[in-house]
């Protein structure tokens, strides 16, 4: 009896109502915190408004002033001078000046930050300016500085080598950092801009999408990122919250080893993919991809291109023409070799293995011998580099840098771990490099898009939609197609 009583007391005592408006803004997302530096967990710090970048991007991807108020390059395009905002201090009270920013950028460049991919010769500073000297002209530089891996952190946070503490300049400062699941932040009193409207916020890294959906439903989460298709549909009808989605420049695609599969074969395989069916049945989107870039990417989406078609009969005919003929067992063969397709993918994005299963069936119907290998995503760059990759299914974000040229440069000029393999087009490479340098003639972009559509170094399958659930308790949450911000500091409690 006594024990039952204790139990009920224990339950009652701790059963405080789990209301969302408890004065703390709860953000729930699938990403776990791995480290205290911008390279490993920077996207979380940026979303939680803890760190800031020299250059910011607006909702259309245009570059706007961040910690730098203005920037200009020398006539030869080799020297970039960034003028820093005055009176900005880090969360430890030290001043964010040219020297501090240059030190941070140097650390990031040496430790896997995005800047490592720019042709940087040196970074120097003077009072409130940072000068980045390049070895060759590179117009992409400001866009690269807008990425989370280029966030400016206090030199005191990496005094001993690795970053040990998260010290940024944002409207929120970290009060408790307990990886992998939790980070608590508090409004930073000395912030240079408008102070955060809500005093405390907590980031929860929750890997399971079912759990995230349940947290949204129970009111534990105010902002819930990345819902699986089934939960998204279910939460549409739930009370006390709204689900929102927006197209983002992330593309689900099949990377194909062009040394094994020539252009005619790749195009035939593309004809065998029922993109509309995959979008509706697996992803629950309205449409599949009709070309590489989604409509939201102004200037990159070309409405004049013929949409990618689904026609299994035409696919078979095209394969026969390309030299793939059925052998005695009905398996397609060319030069005595059967058409074996390994579909390499990873389960971190739960829809990928499902899409792979559909592709397996559709390729098998052609007479190919497909097999799925769902493993760790690092196998994709690993197999790309040792040359053993057959095909790989993954989702690639073209706006890691707000300007897609950054991603094209890494992936298709001429190839890259997360892009083309064994494919090379001299004009294309030249065009991308010219765009990156800022010297491309008018019409280059259209030519690049047309080449990708015509030669298909990768087969686009679907365009992603970013989705989230937002509690009715809060207002002002921003849905950013570039996945940089949630507008957290200006979020308020709803009236």
């Amino acid at each position: 009896m006594f024990r039952t009583l204790t139990l009920s007391l224990l339950m009652a005592g701790t059963a405080l109502p789990a209301m969302a408006n408890d004065g703390v803004l709860d953000v729930v997302a699938p990403f776990e915190l791995t480290g205290a530096d911008p390279v490993t967990s920077g996207h979380v710090f940026l979303k939680m408004d803890v760190t800031e970048t020299l250059v910011d991007a607006d909702a259309e991807g245009r570059l706007v002033p961040g910690l730098a108020t203005e920037w200009k390059s020398s006539a030869d395009g080799l020297d970039w001078i960034f003028t820093l905002r005055d009176n900005v201090s880090f969360h430890d009270g030290s001043a964010m000046d040219g020297a501090a920013a240059a030190k941070a950028l140097d650390w990031l460049r040496a430790n896997g930050g995005l800047l490592a991919k720019a042709p940087v010769a040196a970074i120097s500073s003077e009072d409130q300016t940072v000068t980045i000297t390049l070895t060759e002209p590179f117009a992409m530089l400001p866009a690269m500085l807008a990425e989370h891996r280029s966030a400016i952190i206090a030199p005191s946070s990496f005094a001993g080598g690795p970053v040990t503490e998260v010290i940024g300049t944002g409207p929120y400062r970290v009060t408790e950092f307990s990886p992998p699941n939790k980070m608590t932040v508090e409004a930073f009193g000395d912030y240079w801009g408008d102070a955060a409207a809500i005093d405390r916020a907590v980031y929860h890294g929750v890997g399971r999408s079912e759990t995230r959906a349940l947290m949204a439903e129970s009111g534990d989460a105010d902002i819930t990122l990345s819902l699986d298709p089934a939960s998204f549909t279910r939460l549409k009808g739930a009370e006390g919250l709204q689900v929102r989605s927006a197209p983002i420049p992330r593309v689900l695609m099949l990377k194909v080893n062009s040394e094994i599969f020539d252009q005619a074969t790749r195009k035939a395989l593309s004809l065998a993919i029922d993109r509309a069916g995959i979008a509706k049945a697996v992803l629950r989107y309205e449409t599949g991809a009709t070309q590489m870039f989604p409509p939201g990417m102004a200037g990159w989406h070309d409405t004049t291109l013929a949409p990618l078609a689904y026609d299994p009969e035409a696919a078979k005919a095209a394969l026969a023409e390309a030299g793939w003929l059925p052998n005695a067992e009905g398996i397609l063969e060319k030069d005595g070799k059967p058409m074996e397709i390994e579909l390499l993918t990873y389960p971190d994005r739960p829809e990928l293995p499902l899409v792979a299963a559909v592709l397996e069936q559709q390729f098998a119907a052609l007479g190919a011998k497909p097999v799925i290998n769902s493993t760790n995503f690092s196998e994709i760059p690993a197999k790309h580099n040792d040359g053993t990759l057959s095909t790989a299914l993954f989702a690639r974000n073209f706006a890691l840098v707000p300007d897609p040229v950054g991603t094209l440069l890494q992936d298709y000029a001429p190839g890259g771990d997360w892009g083309a393999m064994g494919w090379s087009n001299g004009d294309f490479t030249k065009g991308v490099k010219a765009m990156a340098a800022g010297t491309a003639p008018e019409g280059t972009r259209e030519d690049l898009v047309a080449t990708l559509h015509e030669e298909m170094p990768v087969l686009p399958i679907a365009w992603y939609e970013l989705n989230m659930a937002v509690s009715d308790e809060v207002s002002g949450v921003v849905i950013d197609p570039f996945e940089r911000t949630l507008g957290l500091a200006s979020v308020t409690w709803a009236e």
Partner: protein, 314 residues
Amino acid sequence: MLLSIGRSLGWRLAQAGLVAILVGVLSFAMMRALPGDMIFRIAAARFGYDNVTAENAELVRSQIGDPAGISAFLGWIAGLFRGDLGTSLVTGETVLAEIAHQFGATAELAGVAILLSLLIGPPLGLWAGLHPGGWFDRATVLLASVFKATPQFLLGLVLIVVVAIGMGLLPAAGHGEARHLILPGLTLALGLAANTTRITREAVVQARDSDWWRFARWKGLSERQVVLRHGLRHVAVPVLTLIAAQFVALMEGVVVVETIFGWPGIGHALVHAVFHRDVPMVQGTALIMGLAFVLINALADIAARVLDPREAAQ
């Protein structure tokens, strides 16, 4: 009795040493045997899927060398004697600091689960055992079977849906406050209580059948007095042994429950460390878990000897 406890402790200590060496060697050998390029896995964990590239993998290689090399293993063994478990290849934190955070979270959860299971299981088992064959006894058998057969992820989700969403009493998931402990603790506790209920019930039935019980009743003690003075101590021995054994089952269940409730525990840490080929983390986590088993068993031994001095007297 002291001598016997000392001897048993000595044996457990030797066991602990053996566990440390074996776990170190085995986990290292297993990590080596896993397929795939370790450096790429580590880079993948550090940089995430949008950013893991061959260049980043090379950067990692230049920073940490060969994590599967023999020198890495010898370094780990040498560190062990200094009480140093090395640093995580993914986060760069010391393994000890990471484990302290994550093992602490698991210990909290396991402690609450065991406590809740003790509040639920033995009282029900005691009542059922005192009235064998009655409706209550039959009901507990049914309930125990149901909870034992329900997978923990299902039980967890049902509890979230009913308690957190339906009644709005507790948070669905999360970590850091006492109220976050209840649902995951209860998920684990219901499965454990199913066992303790049955074991307690059997022990009570067996005791009621024994000569000493009949003698106690014959000398004039009421049923209540027999239970309180003799019965509880008798029943405590098998329950205690069971709890020690349950600790193993708990570690197994904890991985699933931790994932569902977004709990930063050691099960979660071990699974991720294996995925990410974080060799020192795997070795450290496995070592601490192994030593925890030895410690729990040693404590159970001592407690059983204190409760039941007959064995020591022989």
